[in-house]
């Protein structure tokens, strides 16, 4: 919709034109030789790389719905997936600087299907059937999910940077954050617009977001890795504060409530 672009002020065409491609060669990885990351931190880097690179898993769910009809959103998503694939590549470069294999070359444990996540495992057949009834009101839920995902990953990168206390890693994370800023900006503007203008979109968003598995792209990751991720980022007192801070931001999204925010915060803390 032209009016969407005018009202959100996010220039999708400019975003697509200036997308960040491969940037591993611009990173200063030499300091890792003298000051390597601890194995736990490298595990978190590997997990984040896998999640950043799992965009097709997410698009598989999203494109089965009316979201695929919105050409402005799909133009963004094509570029978003491209930028995330190069973020994953940069994280691979950090692993390789330690002599570790890149994430996709390392063995990954088994995913486990949890009862509480059964709806997230639904395949394309289910989703296309549901999509017929949801129509374009579902786009708002997808935009809000993208926004919350940015907050969840932002908390993870921040935790990693603080925990590792490594200057070289901090610079890599700052670079990644500068790329992801535009993703957050787009999702925030779109979610706001779509949820403030449709009660139906709000209703769908409330239902969808409570059942989303965070971060996006983690559903099919190894169960043990997911456990470690939630423990590291949202465990203990500092982690609880991070999860609750995200919950408060969720509650401030149009049409969402404190109860939804609290549910998502609790889900982030569930290991």
């Amino acid at each position: 919709m032209t009016e969407v672009q005018e009202r959100t002020q996010f220039d999708v065409r400019a975003f697509t034109r200036t997308a960040q491609g491969r940037f591993r060669d611009e990173l200063d990885l030499a300091p890792f030789e003298a000051e390597p990351l601890a194995p736990d931190d490298r595990d978190l880097v590997r997990f984040l790389g896998r999640v950043e690179g799992a965009t097709m898993e997410h698009l598989r769910d999203v494109l089965m719905t009316a979201t695929h009809k919105d050409a402005r959103v799909t133009a963004f998503l094509v570029t978003w997936a491209y930028e995330r694939s190069w973020i994953a590549d940069a994280l691979d470069a950090v692993l390789e600087a330690h002599g570790d294999p890149r994430a996709r070359a390392a063995a990954e444990g088994e995913a486990r299907k949890r009862w509480g996540e059964r709806r997230a495992w639904r395949g394309p057949l289910w989703r296309t059937m549901l999509a017929i009834g949801q129509r374009d009101a579902i786009v708002g839920a997808h935009m809000a999910a993208g926004l919350i995902d940015e907050w969840v990953l932002g908390a993870a990168y921040q935790t990693l940077a603080e925990r590792a206390g490594n200057g070289a890693l901090r610079k890599v994370i700052d670079r990644i954050a500068s790329i992801k800023r535009r993703h957050e900006e787009f999702f925030a503007a779109e979610a706001h617009l779509r949820l403030t203008t449709s009660e139906r979109a709000q209703r769908l968003a409330r239902g969808e977001l409570q059942r989303t598995v965070w971060p996006i792209g983690s559903l099919r990751r190894a169960f043990a890795d997911r456990h470690r991720f939630h423990e590291a980022v949202f465990g203990a007192a500092a982690g609880r504060a991070r999860a609750e801070a995200i919950g408060r931001k969720v509650a401030a999204i149009a049409g969402l409530t404190e109860r939804i925010g609290a549910k998502i915060a609790a889900r982030l803390r569930k290991r």
């Binding site: 965009t55 050409a71 133009a75």
Partner: protein, 270 residues
């Protein structure tokens, strides 16, 4: 030779047209027939994300190489759409996001039932269904490369011909990916060969057929694939596809182009 996904992704660039003299179209506009074909191609390129839905109905996305290819392929095809849309814009034909959205809305229920059907078929057939999609992708990309090259050869405008050549060059890499994937998967399974052969022979239609009115498909393929050169091109494409395991003797290009050529009616002269 195996397709090197790392090399492909690292070397991928959005197709360039900023160094081409597009202002030249102000004094030398393209003929209406050429613009009509370009419009068709633009729609097909922009529609790639929707073809991606079909690919994602199978477990193909769990293969790292396939998933990474999809990311780069989608971006390159989007930029082909942008490049062609820029040429059309120089002629006063605007294809914005609104227009694309309106086109996609026109498909209605079919747009949901197609992936649902493919998903059901994929569940029934199992992992071998990925071979169908990869072979299908190869057939589509073969057509795309061929169409761009034919248009570049037929086109007397040097600026458009150069842009089409650049797009065709990128499309050739897409062919290489799909062919390498299809070859590997077909070679590994007799069942995959039988199902792929059957579906290509009975169901495949030239790229764009599912999203464009029949008269546009007929028009475009008559522009690009008529005459002796067109017949020879169809034969060449059939020979390439037939070289894959279990697909020998298939003539899907010759058969489908012939059908389209036979439906063509010259506009009546007044």
């Amino acid at each position: 030779m195996a397709f090197d996904i790392d090399e492909y992704a690292a070397g991928s660039r959005a197709v360039r047209w900023d160094d081409l003299d597009l202002d030249h179209f102000r004094d030398h506009p393209l003929p209406a027939d050429t613009l009509r074909t370009l419009r068709y191609m633009t729609d097909v390129e922009y529609h790639t994300i929707c073809y991606t839905r079909d690919l994602l109905t199978t477990p193909s996305h769990t293969d790292d190489d396939v998933a990474r290819f999809m990311v780069t392929w989608n971006r390159e095809e989007f930029w082909h759409g942008e490049a062609l849309a820029t040429v059309l814009r120089m002629h006063g034909i605007e294809i914005g996001f609104d227009q694309l959205r309106a086109n996609r809305l026109k498909f209605g229920w079919r747009d949901y039932l197609d992936p649902a059907g493919q998903s059901a078929l994929s569940r029934l057939v199992g992992k071998d269904f990925i071979a169908v999609h990869m072979s299908w992708g190869a057939a589509n990309e073969y057509t795309a490369v061929s169409a761009y090259k034919r248009m570049a050869a037929l086109e007397s405008d040097p600026v458009l011909a150069e842009l089409l050549r650049r797009i065709a060059q990128q499309e050739s890499k897409h062919v290489a990916f799909y062919v390498s994937q299809a070859r590997k998967r077909l070679a590994a399974s007799r069942k995959a060969q039988i199902i792929t052969r059957f579906l290509l022979d009975k169901v495949w239609q030239p790229v764009g057929s599912s999203i464009q009115p029949r008269e546009e498909v007929v028009f475009v393929f008559n522009q690009l694939m008529s005459g002796e050169a067109g017949v020879a091109e169809a034969r060449r494409l059939d020979a390439s596809l037939s070289a894959m395991p279990g697909l020998s003797g298939l003539q899907i290009f010759h058969n489908s182009f012939s059908r389209l050529l036979s439906e063509h009616r010259e506009p009546e002269k007044i």
